[in-house]
Amino acid sequence: MGVFPFLVVAWILAVGLYGIVTSRHLVHLIVCLIVLQSSTYVLLLGVGYRAGAAAPYFSDIPRRTPAVDPVVQALALTDVVVEAAVTALLLALAVQAYKRFGTLDPQELVQLKG
């Protein structure tokens, strides 16, 4: 259990990158990007975890209870919401690319000269 979560992070990263490189549809590419971003949340929370500790909310446990790291949880929390909005911006760009060029294939879009 020592490094297994971090190996899973590397796996998700590699799989997401593979999906982006071999994608034939812009929306498929964006979904692979979402999977890639999720690997960073797992990494953040994995770094902050302490075995046998509780969640850092002290409303019903005594204040000296060992708890996991709250700073990485704060980072991951804002991360999740903000990257959803950035994904929406990417989707808007994909819609405009479709309207302009008529195709959503990234390998064909490279060859168009506008």
């Binding site: 979560p5 799989v15 034939r24 975890y49 500790a53």
Partner: protein, 97 residues
């Protein structure tokens, strides 16, 4: 004292070995889910699988004692992102009708 379901479930006394087994199981499922989402080529099917993947991630975050991140990931991954993706797919399919 505010009873809160998520905080209570994250704090429920569970033997250490059981929590380890739970985390390993969900990690394996998440790794498999990521591979399946990437391998699917049809975007509409991918969106459905993405919302299952979001649910698995939310369970993983809960097992990592992070109820706040669970809440965000649950709503974003299972509701908002699939809705945005499906609206985009509707828009790019209208031409082909």
């Amino acid at each position: 004292m505010t009873p809160d379901l998520l905080a209570a479930s994250a704090l429920a006394p569970v033997p250490a070995g059981l929590m380890d087994a739970l985390q390993v199981t969900i990690l394996v499922l998440v790794a498999a889910g990521a591979a399946v989402v990437v391998k699917t080529r049809d975007p509409v099917r991918q969106v459905v699988l993405l919302s299952f993947y979001g649910l698995l991630l939310a369970l993983l975050f809960l097992a990592f004692q992070a109820p706040d991140v669970t809440l965000s990931e649950l709503v974003v991954g299972a509701v908002l992102l699939p809705v945005l993706l499906l609206l985009t797919l509707t828009r790019v399919r209208r031409r082909e009708k």
